[in-house]
Amino acid sequence: MKVVLDHLTKKFVSRGKDKRDIIAVNDFNFEIPDGKLIGLLGPSGCGKSTALNLISGLEVPTHGRIWFGDTDVTDLQPENRGVGLVFQNYALYPHLTVLQNILFPLQNLKGKDKLSKEVMKEKALEAARLVQIDQLLDRKPGELSGGQQQRVAIARALVKTPSVLLLDEPLSNLDARLRLQTREEIKRIQQETGVTTIFVTHDQEEAMSISDLIIVMKLGVIHQIGKPQEVYDDPTNLFVAEFLGTPPINVFAGRVSQETLYIGEEAVLPVPGISDQEVWAGIRPEGFLLDDQGPFTCQLLRVEVMGRDISVVSTHSNSKTDKAIRSIISTDNTVDKSSKTVRFSLKPHKVLIFNKETEERLYFGQTAAKTEG
């Protein structure tokens, strides 16, 4: 079922002395197509959990409507919306067995929806099988590993065949290895059931790897919506560019003069179509090419060989933060480690230019991102 958020806003009235209300979700407008896996991505405290709670009905919006398909669900209680929610720490009932946990939502059904014991059991088993925990049904949550608990939580959320599945930081409580495995698992379960799924995360890698669409937000405002690769390649502003990608994008203070990008005194790239102004120039790590004659000079710090490729770590006085500049070079190149400087030429499509004040993207001979916001 598609989910539509229509000017959705949530304000928290401050009880503190400064009386400043917090706008956790500010005017959300978007449509999530049916059957997709959506990653809601942002730094902690950006309001993404609030957005999830609004969709689930645990919180009531200040303004705006929420539609599931053609039904306006804004005023419905959570139980009437047909959502499944997986909590960050799973919220499995510790005194109930795995089976009892999965059965729990079904046992709440009343009146005409009430199911017979056999049907309930059958549905619970089906959900358990889907997440592959059917051998663990008699255990208590305390006896399970984190990954297994996660699966139980998903099974419990899916057992009522919800129209929308919501996951709050589903991988944050797992160790690194399980995380990789579990995110594949989530993707598989989502594809098998075809349920529209929204998950919240602060980990951009997690979001990029499995989402059909990602929504990047900060301080309650949506910054960009799109397919993961599109958002990575074509961020609409500096925040999105900096938030996506590991290692992160390298940002320099620069200026555009006569359709040429200057960083420091060096003219590093022609940028047709951009008027003269101060800018932020972002260069993806993979946007650097080692070139003895290249226009861009950095102070060489060290070279890290990482097997598949080489990471050249250098510094530049115009770097936005004092962080070292990382450039990823293929192992075909060799770097003269004795040299104090290193010179690069740049791949034009890996260089992103932003207005210094607004931090909005400035385009030069590149296609503007398809923003669906």
Partner: protein, 296 residues
């Protein structure tokens, strides 16, 4: 290593000394006393050993009265106070404004002097030649007839005693249950809400099982506390509890030791050991039930 050994014992000496003299030795001694027959406090001599002290105590009408009073007190106050505390704690945890004020007020009885406030209860419930007292005034307003709760019929006296005991033990129970309820994570309630769980089912299937260890803890400490009731009775009915017919087991022990009956440590020891055995048995039964019912 050796000097460290010495040093450690030096640090421990005061504690060991005090505990040895005032806890371990008396513990052994009380058993010895309880078997020494015809012990005379003045000459510190006794005539024989045996079970006579126990037999005496168990046949003493004052002890039987005390036992009966204590049992009634336990059976009434433990369930009533625990249930009431649960209700109040649930109420407390469901509100936001004034919560802190209520909590602070509810805990007040804990820090008051049992005997001092007992006097207030006494004048509230007592009927004198001058006035029927406030409680009787209320009873008359509602069309009942007045009764002297302090020097009157047994059930009235028992009622005041139970009421005062509950008033005294509530702060502790409310405190424990409120923090137990607060420790149940909001996520569980959110999960239940998403699943459309009714309030009653949420309480029965989620809240109650999750706080059940604390409820059992309160029941056990409640039993132990109520079996040791004494000060509340003294506060309401004065030190001569036997003649008021409101003595408790602990009161009986102290009366035997000192006070009007005057110095029978052997009988006191026997009574104290009987009390200890009763408490131990009840606690064990409680723990066995708990093991069966609290599942995590």
């Amino acid at each position: 290593m050796k000097s460290n050994n010495m040093k450690a014992w030096l640090y421990l000496i005061p504690a060991i000394l005090f505990l040895g003299i005032f806890m371990v030795y008396p513990l052994v001694d009380v058993f010895i006393y309880s078997f020494e027959e015809g012990y005379n406090f003045a000459s510190q001599s006794f005539t024989g050993t045996g079970l006579f002290n126990y037999s005496y105590v168990l046949h003493d009408p004052y002890f039987l009265q005390a036992l009966k009073n204590t049992l009634i007190l336990v059976v009434i106050t433990v369930p009533v106070s625990t249930g009431l505390a649960l209700l109040i704690s649930l109420g407390l945890s469901s509100i936001k404004p004034l919560k802190h004020v209520f909590q602070t007020v509810y805990f007040l009885p804990y820090v008051t002097n049992t005997l001092a406030v007992g006097l207030v209860f006494m004048i509230l419930f007592k009927k004198t030649a001058y006035t029927d007292g406030l409680i009787n005034m209320l009873i008359q307003w509602f069309g009942g007839s007045s009764v002297d709760f302090i020097d009157g019929p047994y059930w009235a006296k028992m009622f005041v005693l139970c009421f005062y005991t509950i008033w005294i033990v509530m702060p502790f129970k409310i405190l424990i249950l409120t923090s137990a309820l607060a420790s149940v994570k909001q996520d569980y309630y959110n999960a239940a809400k998403i699943d459309g769980t009714s309030a009653l089912r949420t309480f029965g299937r989620i809240t109650l099982p999750m706080i059940s260890p604390m409820i059992f803890y309160l029941i056990i400490t409640g039993f132990i506390g109520a079996f040791k009731a004494y000060q509340d009775a003294v506060a309401l009915f004065g030190t001569d509890l036997n003649s008021a017919g409101m003595n408790t087991i602990v009161g009986y022990v102290y009366d035997m030791l000192y006070g009007d009956s005057g110095g029978y440590p052997s009988y006191a020891s026997a009574a104290a050991i009987i009390l200890f055995v009763i408490v131990l048995t009840i606690t064990t039964i409680n723990l066995m039930i708990r093991r069966k019912n609290v599942q995590y």
